[in-house]
Structures are given as C-alpha cells and as structure tokens.
Symmetry: C2
Subunit: 434 residues, 2 copies
C-alpha cells in the first residue's frame, strides 16, 4: 500500500477541477481514517479566503509529503490563514466605488498589488492590451498613437512611489469617526512602478511652446479627464505599464497608467487613452465639482494637486487590543508629495512631548516611509500620535489647524495628525481630537 | 429596460459560484445579442490563466460599465491577458521539485510573490501559524520557544534582498543548453522582506561564547538542516514573516523563514522550526552530498555559502525575436552576495568592447540591481553579454575561467558570463560560449 498523503487540494481556482478535487480529498480522508493514520486530519476545510487556496492541515508537517508546487499552475497564492482584504464600499447605483488598503497589517513600504486601494467612477474596464493605444495630440508638431508594445521599446525607468486619493481621511474632518486605520487612512498605497518617462516619449513628437496644460483621459466609462500643468509633464510624469515586477493590475489601470509622483490619486489617470496638449486647463467636472476645496467664503481652491506631508501610526491602531503591558514597537507610515520625508516624530502623551522615530532606509522621494519607535506601555491611558516633517520643512498640521485654515466645507486633503487612544484595558480607539 | 452590462464574470475563483456565473454570463450574452447591442461581444471566453479571473472584453470599454471591484472579494488578481508563469519541474517521485521565475518579463527589481522561484525537497507544508513555534536551544543560557505573535512583537526591520539557489544556471556548465533566461537564470528572485534581526532575539536568551555554529531546520518532511557560521548569525541574519508587504508566501516558508542576505538559497531555511547553537557544523547531507562543489581531484569545497557577483541580460534573451532593426533598450539584472553592485558592463560585440550600463537607483546591498543600455541593432549577427563588478572589486568571470578553476564535476555556483546570440533574422538564442 502506498504511503498516504494528507495534502490534497480542497478548493482550487479552476472551476472544472474543483469538484473532482473535493471528491478526491474526501476519498483520501476516508482512506486515511480507514488506514488508521489518525494524526493526519484536516482541521480546516472551509471555503478558501480571497487570494488563497485551501489545503488540509496535517498535525505534524514533518511526517507527511507537502503539496506539489505544480498545483498552483505556475502562479502562487497566499496562505489560507491570511484573510486581510480590501474593504469595498459601493454607492447604491454601483457606479461609484472605493476600496481601502488594510494598513493595520502593512509591513515595510510595498503594498501587495492585490491589496492596493481603489477609486473608480464606472467600475474596472477589461482592456485587451494588444488593441489598446495611447493618442497624443493637440499642441504638438506631429500627433501620434502608440501601442503598448511601442511604449515598452522606449528607455524605461523604475521608481517606487505612493499614490494617495485626495479624499483619504475625509471621514475625519469634523470629528473622529472610523474605528480602523484601514478606513481612516486606507486610500494610500505604494508600489514599484516601471514605465517610460513621459518626457522621453514627447521628445519624439515635439510639444509646441504655447502648450501649458495636458489633458489626460482614461478608457473607462467615467470620462474622467484631468488637466495637468506642463511643468509636471516635463518633470517626472511617467507612463507606467508595470507594478511590483509584473504588469500593472486591472484595477490600477491595466495596461497603462499615467503616474504623477506626489500628485493626488485621481490625476494618475488609469487605463490611459489620450493626452491632449492645450494652452489652458479644461476645468472639467473633476476639477470643479470634484477634487476642489470649497472654503467657508464660498470660494474654491482649484488644482490642489500636490499631496502634503502626512503620517499615521498603523500599530497600535483603532480596533486593536494590547493584551499585556510592556514592550511594543510603535510603527507606521509617513509620506509627502514634496519629495522625501525628513523626519517623523511620535508622541505617546497626547502631544506634550515628541520623540524622533527611526526611519527605514532607503528614504525615497514621494514614497511611503516606514517609521518605528520602541515603547513600553505602562498600562495607563495613552494617546499616541505621529507627525511627518518633509524635506521642505513643512510640518504635518493638527486637524484643528487645518479647519482654521480651510473650514469645514471640503473634505479633500485632510492630512491632519491622527490620534489613537489606548485605554487602561488595552483597547485602542479613534476618539480623540487634537 | 435596464441598460445591459457586458461585464460579467466568466470564471471565478470560488468553486460554488463559477457555474452560476457562467450561466449568468451566457444568459447575458444571449440578452445582448437579442437586444441588438452587437458591439458588446465577449471575444475571449477561455479558461482563466493562473492568478487571474476571466471577464468578457467589450469592444469599447468607454461605453459600458466596468466590473464591480467587489467581485474580487477584497484581494485582486492580475489581468487575464498576463500569462507568464513559473516553470515547474518535478522529479518522477514528485518529492523533489523546482520552479523558475520568468525573468524575461521582469521589470524593476521586485519579483511578484506569485512568481518567486521555488526549490523543495518534500513539497510545500501547510502550517497553521497559530500553533507554529520556533525553538532556540543548544549552547544558549536559556533555551526558549517563540510563537509567531511573539516574534512580531520584537523591533522589526525591512530589507530588500535577492535569494538565489546555488544551483542557478547549473545547466550551463558544460555547454549552453537552455533556450530561455527563465531556465538558465530563473532560480533567483528578489523581495522586500520584513522581520526581526536574529541578533535582537538572541540577546534575550544569551548565546554561549563557545557557540560557533547554528543549525537551522525547517518544518517540512525533508529534514533539511544547515549549519550557519556564527558570524553570519550576528551580522545580518533575520527571521522574516513578511514578503512584499504581506505575510510570507507558503512556498517561501510561511509562517517563518531564516533570511541570510547573500547566502545560497537553501541556507535561508523555510518553515523555520528550530535553531540549535553548537561548537561545530553538523556536516549534514545537505552540506556534503548536496551543496558542496566537487573538484577534479576528488576534493570538495564545503560551505561555499556566499553567492558571487552575477548578471544576465533579460531583454533581449533566448527565445525572443527582434522583428525590426533600430533602437532597443538592453536590460537585465545584476546581483552579488558581497554587498552592492558597483557597475555592470555590457558588450554587444562578443566581448571585444564593453560599455557601462546605467544602474537603477537606489543601489541596495545583496539585492537585484536593474541595469539598462540603449542599443541600435543594425541587423547583423550580434553576441550580447553582461558582467557584474561588485563593491569588493570582484569581476564576474567567464564560464571558461570558472571551469579552469573548478573543473566540471560540480554544478553549483555557476556565475559565468551569459551570452545571447542574435542572428541576422532577429532570432535570439543561447548557442555561444565565451
């Protein structure tokens, strides 16, 4: 009798094989029980969590052959024990949607592509890269269209940058509301992007001297169009086709996205389809009714494009529980659209004193920066906060300062200091306002 | 009549929903045809590729609502048009297995976790992180065991490092054989790792002065055990639980891996279960019959742990075709286990002349480094090569030099210069030996 293996696929990604597989698994379990190999029992046979495949768990993995790597058909999945997901919110008409990155479990600075936040106005289009084209026209000497393959032949660049929705932390303007860092700050994510500098492509077709703006539009059904100042176009704008070492994900703009390092998320147009050079901004609805900041006097701040310095403590954060006193490492993320983070300060006493956190190197421009601070919790109520200082000298403000400056009409660009309150029982919540 | 949407799931990862989904899709397609919305047609309704979910492709994505983000249940997948996979090889008894990263399509330096190479001796164990423990014992003052949660409470570090199997490029010792860079060099990958420095943990339990080696063993059925010099333990060894921003993948050692930056792959013990401090190496079979380099005179080089400087051109590479003359960007990866890459030189004339390639910053120690060189192909036969020089001054050798030094008995640590030949018709192959 051959040595039995307890490792069988319980649920697979391939529809046609799953039923067979489950049958095989049940048969195998019956064999195992009959054969008296009682130690080898599947103790978790549920439906698989998103992004994973469920396997039986042996009591002693050193006594049974592991699963065949080929079961994943050449593209691996995460462990079945990892269950964190993006939090999706949809409007009733399902046309407007948003999802938040689970920052509370973030490690390092890279956001897994499967957990990158999303903000869509007409869902995610499915686009065949072989027939997709980028049109560049308007105030240029020779309008051209480029296939994805053509863009990949240009000299390439790789850069790690965050993208943050300017609506990130919008819920926290008037008072603390959300009880997780995923909900308060989960509209920022960070990836390694590869593509071609837009300036490299533009040298091929000649931009006229009177071109002062570029209108970028995507190929979804939302008709989102944004006007980009020409200075940004020449500075560091990129056409990106890769994210974290593989093709850019569908929900991030597959097969092509405009990347504007440090600019608010929606200007990094997804499913990029056309770039039109003009001598004035379009003042599209994405620049007037959306993504502008309405002051108390009825005037609006338009084209508030650069994301200001911001930070948040991801551990400990709201919804967590510290089950004992003693050592904890406070950690979080800081970022700025103005270049590099210069320092991050952390307070554990409600802002009375501040200590410099350690910053994980390398420090990259317009990139998430991981900060850490060792901390001994003494079991007393503690209010913990972080503030980011960027290389321009700008200091992340309190929400009170933000409100004094901009009022309460708008909810974009909320980069105020976030407080988490740890009570005497170790429960962490979002109830404190500086 | 409600506006029809052509975007329906054709295949889903969840078994129970897939049949319903396909039925819904077929119904919807029938409705669309009946309704005369002829422009909206699914032109790709195949089984989904690994790591993706298949959706119908509308002719004009700007005219139909995109798919709901919530369809992915909170963890995204890649595009259905992206089909690159790890190449799996299995021995007849299925106990020994290997898979290769598709480097030909690599971008930047991060390897997507789903495409990280694998080398297993007893398959992939499924381990419940809640009951997994790391035992540290032997020549220590107080032996201890640590849960994963306990290890996560220590001060953490994030570092981006390559891991290369010392058998990488083994097939190319005697003569060029494999016709893709995936097969010649695909046993190296690079990730952002997060965990705790082993030295930080060891300070808790006190390592005795006579401890000169550490034996590391994993929790799979292979009993793989490796002896690590104590200097490496104190220098930069890490216990890692995260990879590319999320939990380490099952095939990379979930829930815990030993990371030894720059050391040969197998010493980075996966599913790490125990660390025993001793005053001598174990000389396990993984250190004598495996992973030692047999010289011509019958003697063996043991503990050849550090990976030497190496590089390979990933584009253009064997199996590709250049369909026209003109501009191409030659690009590839370089790395060394001796710290940082100092420079990479590229030859396009069979080694007669060498040019310095551009290196993508930041330059990180023991990390893949992306290099690039602009090139005009004139349509003539060309032999292209790269060589890596690391910060110690070591220069990547030719294979001929390697053979002169070590003979032909061993196949580990083949870091020779790789040549690709581009013929007059633009076909790229691996037929040339320097």
């Amino acid at each position: 009798m051959p040595k039995p293996s307890a490792i069988e696929v319980v649920a697979e990604t391939e529809t046609n094989q799953a039923d067979n597989s489950r049958r095989r698994f049940l048969n195998r379990m019956a064999q195992l029980t009959a054969g008296g190999v009682g130690g080898i029992i599947a103790n978790q046979v549920n439906a698989s969590t998103p992004g994973s495949v469920e396997y039986a768990v042996p009591k002693d993995p050193t006594k049974v052959q592991g699963r065949e790597p080929s079961l994943d058909k050449g593209y691996g999945t995460r462990s079945q024990f990892e269950t964190e997901t993006r939090l999706h919110l949809s409007a009733p008409n399902k046309q407007v949607s948003v999802s938040f990155t689970p920052l509370e479990n973030s490690r390092g600075i890279i956001t897994p592509s499967g957990l990158h936040f999303e903000r869509h106005y007409a869902g995610i289009p499915t686009i065949d890269p072989n027939e997709h084209q980028l049109f560049i026209y308007g105030l240029v000497d020779s309008p051209q269209k480029f296939s994805i393959d053509a863009l990949k032949r240009f000299p390439s660049q790789t850069r790690t940058h965050f993208i943050e929705c300017s609506g990130n932390s919008y819920s926290e303007w008037r008072k603390p509301t959300k009880q997780s860092v995923q909900e308060t700050h989960g509209l920022t994510s960070c990836s390694e992007w590869t593509g071609v500098l837009l300036s490299t492509v533009l040298k091929e077709l000649g931009v006229k001297k009177n071109a002062s703006w570029m209108l970028a539009q995507g190929r979804d059904a939302s008709s989102l169009i944004r006007s980009i100042p020409i200075e940004k176009v020449w500075d560091d704008a990129m056409l990106v086709y890769a994210q974290n070492g593989e093709a850019i994900r569908p929900e991030q703009g597959y097969p092509l996205r405009l990347l504007l390092p440090g600019f608010e998320g929606n200007t990094n147009v997804k499913w990029l389809h056309s770039l039109k050079f003009t001598d004035q901004p379009m003042l599209s609805r994405w620049e007037t009714s959306h993504y502008s900041d309405l002051y108390e006097d009825g005037k609006s701040r338009l084209f508030s494009l650069t994301m200001d310095a911001k930070s948040v403590i991801t551990f400990p954060s709201a919804g967590m529980h510290l089950d004992k006193t003693g050592f904890y490492e406070i950690t979080g993320l800081a970022w700025t659209g103005q270049g590099r983070v210069k320092s991050v300060e952390v307070s554990v006493d409600d802002g009375k004193t501040w200590q410099k956190a350690m910053l994980q190197t390398p420090l990259l421009p317009n990139c998430h920066t991981r900060f850490r601070l060792p901390w001994e919790w003494n079991g007393e109520l503690a209010v913990i906060q972080s503030r980011c200082i960027d290389e321009t000298g700008y200091v992340q403000p309190t929400v009170t300062q933000l409100i004094a400056e901009r009022g309460l009409n708008s909810f974009y660009h909320q980069n105020g200091i976030q407080s988490w309150v740890i009570d005497k029982d170790g429960y962490v919540s979002n109830t404190h306002r500086t």
